[in-house]
Amino acid sequence: MKYVDEYRKKDLILSIAEKIKKASDREMVLMEVCGGHTMAIHRFGLNSLLPPNIKLISGPGCPVCVSDQRFIDTAIAFGRLPGIIIATYGDLIRVPGSVSSLEKERAKGSDIRIIYSVLEALEIARQNRDKKVVFPGIGFETTAPATAAAVIQSRQDKIFNFFVLSGHKVMPPVMKTLVEEGVRIDGFIAPGHVTAITGTSIYEELASIYKLGVVVSGFEPVDMMQSVLMLASQIEKGKPAVEVQYRRVVNETGNKVAQNLMKEVFEYRDDRWRGIGMIRESGLKIADHLSKFDAEKQIEVNVGESFEPKGCICGLILRGLKTPVDCPLFARKCTPTDPVGACMVSGEGTCATYYKYRS
């Protein structure tokens, strides 16, 4: 398959692995920010191909995992109201809120539907004018433009029973927060699809102020290995810079259309990340001039109190400070069938990935 097979060639991967070994023997900790990267590393067993001086840690780039209890609790509360349809991406439905999940609520009778694109939520709204359709928007700069486009579309088509519960977040603040909190990171494998939207300028500060290398990477094994090689070379030379490995998708300026959509529809706000806490200007809310599409503004609901599960170390895992095997709940009380923390729910979650590919 084009764009896949050529990036999974064994000989090529092994030859890059050899080059990585020669590039540097310094101890280094590289954070793969994106959940998709974590998946690829485990699926293709890339860790076993890296020399012992290079350690990869997983970052907070799984959108489902960083959505906090409050967000899930709010979606659940909306779902319990009469006349509401929750239209959600599939992997959100199993995420545990404080006491329930959307999946459990669906079995109890809430009208919760799985969609693959936000535009389907819009379609559901169009066909159910007597109902209110709430779309819990999650994801980073990758999915936020699609949500923005749906809001613009619903304004244009006068679909006023479509509402967004925004849990959208942006990447740069959390990356900076981790560095400022003192997590040891010597370089970032930066998310390819986020950067396809934003362009590379969002990482400049990390290189110039924090002196950390950033390589924007694709998601196939050859991409990942090449990105590690580029970072190892940067670190060896002591010249941190922002580089793009994922040239076939990412350019420096990003996608202007998507950026403009986001600017029109969203405003930054301080936002809570599961297990990490409040991070300044790290979340996206629906802009005031479009508040008629903002579920939180338009639909009154009593959410109740939210709290975090006991014993779950999702927060430390999302910060790259611990790995899932350090967690007493991992693979015992917390499994993909009955997840305690969100990192076990999404296919991209660090815990789910470790569970699935454990050996």
Partner: protein
Amino acid sequence: MNQTKGNIMLGHGSGGKMMHDLIENVFIKKFNNNILTDQTDSAILNSDLDNIAFTTDSFVIDPVVFPGGNIGKLAVCGTVNDLAVSGAIPAYLSVSFIIEEGFPVEELEKIAESLAAEAQKAGVSVVTGDTKIVNKGKCDKLFINTSGIGFIRKENISIGKGSKVAPGDFIIINGTIGDHGMAVLNARESFNFTIHIESDCASLNHLIKKVTDKHEVKFMRDPTRGGVAAVLNELALKTGFGIEIEEDALPIKKGVKAMCELLGFDPLHIANEGKVIMVVPESDVQSVLEILKNDTLGMESSAIGRIVTEHQGRVVLRNQTGGSRIIDTLSGDQLPRIC
């Protein structure tokens, strides 16, 4: 019922004339055989062998018509295959319909027609059945239950249990994986993908018989819901041995692979309806593959792995990059990744 237009009404399930006409016109006519036309409450079956295999399955697929088949064809294939992979020769089927009020009779006829055609192809007779109509909204269009009876020789009884499986045996599949699940998903959801994927839905009893007539097959199972991963995990647990699969050897259609990549699905977890996993001794691998490949239902057959003494009770996949990973059964529904 003279007309084939119109919709199913609650009256069609009343037990009265409407129901009688519906059964007469839509079902009996199509599944026609002596035992069924007797219309007794229970079918009396002839047997000239010692052991009878009996199975049942319900079909609740959405959409009821999908590329490569429909719920009627599927209801035959599913039950025929359950018998065939147990080592039995499928012979008789029962068919029960639960129909939602408002379902178009014309569509029901088409489904019954392809059910009948598939039964004929598989060489099984539909000998008893039932029809219930439920209020609109109480079921999703049409549910079908089929039960099947087959005859099984004593020497084949161990096939379903896998009790003769031993390290060194090879695992063979008769073609590409994930076709059915992805065809149905693609038909159900509004992806607007331009690719066309057909379900592999097919009765495998003739193909299987060709192999079992000539070779010792130590284990067989059709990888339906839960996919190849579920069957192999069950076998690993059942036997206590490990299983190693080669990623390179897995036959997967381009379109299925592409859809899986896009949605974040693993083809090993996707349902098949025309596939059989066989475990055969090493000495028989080439000859079994040859038989399979000479049949239209086995042209892309492949030896995908083997039974090993290592990693007991687990299924391990060796990937193209030289790494390996454990293949688990799926916990619940496979959920698409968001980005």
